[in-house]
């Protein structure tokens, strides 16, 4: 009897459980009607970015004057009189703190410190110290923000450069310009949103590779387009001999039709991209010559940038071109000036390198300013890391070299809502470690994106099952340098 009652109770409970379960499921099902894509498994994340800024941006465009090879901060923007007094003395272990060195100096028996061979002076209302190698930059000191406390994680060129351009050392990630193109779209539909210009000085150089302006896993419409300095600034966009524009148009229409058929069949987004790229290239045929034509630039402009700006392939010419591209709505103009890797013969090489870029860099800022464009254009100048405060190789009275140094280096920024006329961050008196306000590369990226109206934590792209950002999982906006 007892057993029967128990059974009955259990049965009741079971029935109750099942009915409750169905009721619960029913409610959940009702609720799920209000959640789109809950069970379909697809994510709407990649649609989050619609090619528009998250908030009204300070800057609309960037011109990045990348100094490839890592210019020495100790001969440019980080004045260290104490280091000069202590030239020849051994680098104290208390300063080095066991930091790893590159294979080029790790086996060096001594690490004699060496101060700058050139003098520094104070300029402008901010009284920033700038070396005599950069007389033109010194004149615009009240328009720029010098960050002396940058640091990075990589110690060799390629990883450091890749880190600076893509936010990761390993490569295959989208580069900064590609992220911006993805996040903001193009202002001018007749030019790529991301253009790359190369030049090189006589200094010891490091190569740059197209992986630095790759779209990574983003749609390939976002990749950087390299402009070369020959007769064809953009390769393969001119009509071949014997083909007129009308014929080219017909050809593109036919190709596009075929591509459309494949697209319908396979649905590969890259096919749609290819169609868009053909169309962009067709429009570039008229837009590019218009932008590249410097023959109408007034004499005043040539004086400003220096006469080298009329010599295609020089840094000065690229700087002028950068202004023209940016003025035409190119979102991100990336310049690389190679030759800053002064392991040896630093005084001679860095003097030449500085001469290559100093006047034109300053000119670009002035040129943008007087056209009323500086406040919406962010200009960035800097390399991938700094250089050691000790000499690599033989230290003589007037010659020395400097090895790679990721722990501190200087860059400057101008315009685009960055506070003008300030110096941010400090290094210790020997110029080896950061003493105040360190800025990591991720922080730099976060700040740059912020100025363009993008929240670096929201600019994400899902790829191979995880979300990617330019700043990976780090980065803080450096608010102190924002106007």
């Amino acid at each position: 009897m007892e057993k029967t009652i128990l059974e009955h109770g259990l049965n009741l409970n079971r029935r109750r459980f099942l009915s409750r379960l169905s009721l619960g499921l029913g409610s959940a099902a009702l609720g799920s009607l209000l959640v789109p894509d809950l069970f379909s498994g697809s994510s709407t994340e990649n649609d989050l970015v619609t090619g528009l800024p998250d908030f009204a941006p300070k800057a609309k465009r960037i011109i990045y004057l990348f100094q490839n090879g890592a210019p020495s901060q100790l001969e440019s923007f980080d004045y260290k009189p104490a280091l000069r007094r202590m030239t020849g003395e051994e680098l104290p272990d208390s300063v080095r703190m066991g930091q790893r060195l590159t294979g080029m100096t790790a086996n060096q028996k001594a690490f004699p410190m060496v101060g700058s061979f050139c003098d520094f002076r104070q300029y402008g209302a901010s009284g920033a110290w700038i070396s005599d190698l950069f007389p033109y930059t010194a004149r615009i000191v009240d328009d720029i923000c010098i960050v002396r406390s940058m640091y990075t994680e990589a110690i060799n060129h390629d990883p450091a450069l890749t880190f600076f351009q893509t936010g990761a050392q390993q490569g295959n990630r989208p580069s900064m310009g590609a992220w911006l193109s993805y996040g903001l779209g193009s202002e001018n539909k007749n030019l790529p949103a991301f253009c790359v210009l190369l030049s090189r000085g006589i200094g010891n150089g490091q190569g740059v590779y197209s992986k630095l302006w790759t779209n990574g896993f983003l749609d390939s419409i976002h990749q950087g387009v390299q402009f070369s300095n020959g007769e064809d600034p953009v390769l393969f966009i001119n009509d071949p001999t014997g083909m007129d524009r009308a014929m080219r148009r017909r050809m593109l229409d036919n190709i596009s039709e075929l591509n459309n058929i494949s697209y319908q069949e396979f649905g590969d987004a890259e096919i749609a991209t290819r169609i868009r790229q053909y169309e962009l290239a067709f429009r570039m045929q008229t837009a590019v010559p218009e932008v590249m034509d410097v023959s109408k630039e007034p004499d005043d402009v040539i004086r400003l940038y220096g006469p080298d700006c009329m010599v295609p392939g020089t840094f000065a010419a690229n700087a002028l071109l950068a202004r023209k591209l940016s003025e035409s709505g190119v979102r991100f103009v990336q310049l690389y000036h190679q030759g800053w890797d002064q392991h040896g013969d630093l005084p001679y090489e860095i003097t030449k390198q500085a001469k290559d870029v100093d006047q034109a860099s300053a000119a670009l800022v002035i040129d943008l300013k007087r056209r009323g464009l500086l406040d919406e254009t962010l200009v960035i100048w800097g390399g991938e890391f700094g250089r050691t405060n000790y000499s690599q190789g033989r230290l003589t009275k007037d010659n020395y070299g400097r090895d790679h140094h990721p722990r501190c280096f200087s860059i400057w920024m101008a315009g685009g809502g960055v506070k003008p006329g300030i110096v941010y961050g400090e290094t210790d008196e020997l110029g080896y470690n950061i003493a105040k306000d360190p800025v990591h590369v991720h922080d730099f990226h976060a700040t740059v994106l912020h100025q363009l109206g993008l929240d670096h934590e929201k600019l994400v792209y899902k790829h191979l099952g995880r979300r990617y950002r330019l700043t990976d999982v780090a980065g803080n906006v450096v608010k102190d340098i924002l106007a």
Binding site: S19, R20, L23, G24, G26, S27, A28, L30, G31, S32, L34, V35, P36, D37, L38, T50, L52, D54, F55, A56, P57, R139, G185, E187, K189, N190, I202, N204, G205, G207, R283, T286, A287, E290, S295, P298, D300, I302, R303, G306, P307, M310, V311, E327, G329, D345, I366, K369, R370, R371, G372, L373, D375, E376, R394, K419, P420, I422, D480, A483
Partner: protein, 727 residues
């Protein structure tokens, strides 16, 4: 009858289903998409909400009372209360769902909504729980009382939070409270750093606990004196060092940390307020200082101004409606790009491209979005004065770029209608001083005006800047016209190596430059040296020195342009020795390809055109179809002592009629550098004496042991050659 109503199963199930439904909604709240037809349901939240409030309050009172009624009516009370509670719980569930729907709509201050939501959810689940357990045997009078009080408390809290949402905070007390912000509507010379900026924040966020009545942590935040004194834990801040300042550390702690301030249940500081406190401490925590006396780039000053200026026309929140997306799509083209300023902003920016496709209608058509255009970029377009009225009716324009357009001063005068215009660029247009002066008086909101390459002189720009100090007037040349040095002339010839003669092509990139040159090794000057006229023929290896001249420029440095004659190019060249790994290039043809190398050849990327050997001699066999008379063989070499690239120690030339029958026809020892030198490229000659040879063998021996002065003394040097000339 009561029995019937007691059909508890149905009620139980209904509440259970609701409980699951609400749990589900809360779990997936972030991903809910409320269809438009459901929105009215959400919006009825504020109306329906009053029913469960009343029902639950009433049920709670009855719940306490039911244990005291002992007569016949006990059962009635019990059942009635139960039914009341049921309806109250059910309706509160309905209200919660409605509230969740409503909260998905835009414009709700998240923090306040979250509190209200959770309070509502607590009320619903408490009511459900009470309904479920109230008939259990253990449920006695104490439980009933506690439950009732709790429920009433929750209802009051949720009601208050909801009321704040609808009517705004402090709605009830506002008439008798004073607003601290009202006195500081805009920044003036009298705005004080502490009293007008920092104190109001403390008053709204901290004073409720740190006042003379409550005085938590022995800290008063009522005025500058008590603020400077600090509390139990010590001083509140360290001037100039926000990271070390207690107040900012406490604010920055995670919300769930016990020491986080303000306590998690209290209103928190906004990011802007935190930033202002941070920057205030960083600026040295000025108390009595006037904001305007701080340096112009001081972050605190900028933030303070920003905070106080909210509400001025310059702010970027626009009150006009967005343009219909079809209109935007219709107006958008490859040459007229129209984009919202940011996501969710009604304002748009317009950029116009392609000079040849521009016409008046390009701007005229923008009339359809005249409210929405806030940025218009027409630079380098042939915009004429007739087009200005179309621009002038885009009344919300903040930023206008007319650089290098065809507009003139009379056209620009009509821009006066743009009362929000802040940034105007008219560089490269023909406007005059009086016209700009007039323009500046007619544009009230103008902040920045770019005037470069207009008719205005620098002095006039300076005058304008003095007369209109609130506008940044850009475009004056900073300093004197500078004398700049021209760059050197260049050679445009495709190659510098020739077999017979070469027409030298000298060019200069800057327009209107004169080039003067010499071919005898002397320095060119502007008087006696010949002017390059495009016809300079050279028939031997020559060093041309050229210099560029232009009025108002410093003449260029001398360019040394070498051309090399190589009269006897071999018909075949064979390499007899191994080339250095990095400097293989094209093998033997490298030395006869008319392509010269540059410095820095040590790096593989720069090694172009340099063929090199180390350890073994460079040995080449040349063959001629027709016998030649060879008078000299020259090797063009790079010398870079620092990196160990040395000239050859010796050059030997052998000649003959067959490879097996050769005799020595020339030999030259080369003088080696005796100390470190700057890198240079030099031709090393070896005179030969032969007639009619068909085979020539060239041997160049690299330095096998660096001399003693070199830092690699004893080790072998590298020899690099880019071209071999046979004459």
């Amino acid at each position: 009858m009561w029995k019937k109503l007691e059909s508890k199963g149905v009620q139980d199930n209904a509440l259970f289903a609701f409980a699951v439904f609400i749990a589900f909604l809360i779990l997936f709240e972030g991903e809910l998409a409320i269809p438009t037809w459901l929105q009215p349901v959400g919006r009825m939240h504020a109306m329906v909400v009053h029913f469960p409030i009343v029902l639950i309050l009433l049920a709670a009172v009855l719940e306490v009372v039911r244990f005291y009624i002992t007569d016949e009516s006990t059962r009635f009370y019990s059942v009635f209360t139960k039914q009341l509670l049921f309806v109250g719980a059910l309706l509160s569930g309905v209200t919660v769902v409605m509230g969740i729907f409503l909260a998905r709509e835009e414009g709700y201050d998240t923090q306040a909504v979250v509190a209200h939501k959770w309070a509502g959810v607590v009320v619903f689940y408490s009511a459900v729980l009470l309904f479920a357990v109230r008939d259990r045997n253990w449920f006695g009078v104490i439980h009933a009382r506690a439950a009732a009080v709790l429920l009433v408390g929750c209802v009051l809290v949720v009601g208050h939070l909801g009321g704040s949402l609808t009517h705004g905070e402090n709605y009830v007390w506002q008439p008798i409270a004073t607003s601290f912000f009202s006195s500081a509507a805009a920044v003036s010379v009298d705005t004080l750093a502490f009293d007008d900026i920092v104190k109001p924040i403390l008053e709204s966020r901290c004073r409720s606990c740190h006042n003379p009545l409550k005085n938590k942590g022995n800290l008063l935040l009522t005025d500058s004196v008590t603020m400077a004194r600090g509390g139990k834990t010590g001083p509140l801040f360290l001037s100039g060092n926000p990271e070390e300042s207690l107040i900012l550390q406490r604010i920055a702690l995670p919300l769930d940390e016990k020491k986080h301030m303000p306590p998690s249940e209290k209103p928190q500081l906004t990011d802007e307020e935190k930033n202002i406190l941070y920057q205030w401490v960083k600026s040295g925590a000025p108390f009595q200082r006037r904001v305007t006396t701080l340096p112009e780039s001081d972050s605190f000053r900028l933030l303070a101004i920003q905070m106080l200026e909210k509400g001025s026309p310059s702010q970027r929140q626009f009150d006009f409606p967005p343009a219909p997306s079809e209109t935007l799509a219709r107006l958008n083209s490859n040459y007229r790009v129209i984009r919202p300023v940011s996501r969710n902003s009604p304002a748009v920016a317009v950029n116009v491209y392609n000079h040849s496709l521009y016409s008046s209608s390009t701007i005229e058509e923008l009339g359809a979005i005249r409210e929405q255009v806030v940025t218009l970029d027409l630079s380098n377009m042939p915009v004429a004065d007739e087009d200005i009225p179309y621009i002038a009716r885009l009344r919300n324009v903040r930023r206008l770029n007319l650089n290098f357009t065809s507009v003139t001063g009379s056209g620009l005068a009509r821009l006066g209608a743009l009362r929000y215009l802040e940034y105007l660029s008219i560089a490269g247009t023909s406007v005059s001083y009086t016209e700009v002066n007039h323009l500046l008086t007619s544009l009230p909101a103008l902040k920045s005006l770019a005037l470069w390459e207009t008719l205005l002189t620098d002095a006039e720009i300076a005058t304008l800047q003095r007369d209109f100090p609130h506008v940044r007037i850009l475009g004056a040349r900073e300093g004197e016209i500078e004398m700049i040095r021209l760059n050197s002339p260049r050679m445009a010839n495709k190659t510098r190596v020739f077999d017979d003669s070469i027409i030298l092509e000298l060019i200069h990139p800057v327009r209107g430059t004169e080039i003067r040159y010499t071919i005898d090794g002397t320095e060119p000057d502007s008087v006696s040296s010949p002017l390059y006229n495009g016809r300079l023929v050279l028939a031997r290896t020559t060093s041309v020195k050229a210099k560029a001249y232009k009025k108002d420029w410093i003449s260029s440095e001398v360019a040394m342009l070498n051309v090399y004659r190589s009269a006897h190019e071999p018909d075949t060249a064979i390499l007899l020795s191994r080339l250095n790994r990095v400097h293989v290039q094209k093998g033997a043809p490298t030395f006869f390809d008319h392509e010269l190398g540059t410095f820095n050849a040590n790096s593989p990327a720069w090694a172009n055109n340099w063929g090199g050997v180390r350890n073994n001699p460079l040995a080449l066999l040349l063959r001629y179809d027709v016998p030649r008379t060879i008078g000299q063989v020259s090797l063009n070499c790079l010398v870079e002592t620092e990196t160990g690239i040395f000239p050859p120690e010796a050059i030997e030339v052998w000649g003959g009629d067959s490879p097996d029958d050769m005799r020595l026809i020339g030999r030259k020892r080369i003088e080696l550098p005796s100390d470190y030198q700057k890198p240079y490229i030099q031709l090393f000659d070896c005179p030969t004496d032969s007639s009619d040879v068909t085979y020539v063998k060239i041997l160049a021996a690299p330095v096998m042991k660096f001399p003693a002065w070199h830092r690699n003394a004893g080790r072998p040097a590298l020899l690099l050659v880019d071209e071999i000339l046979v004459n």
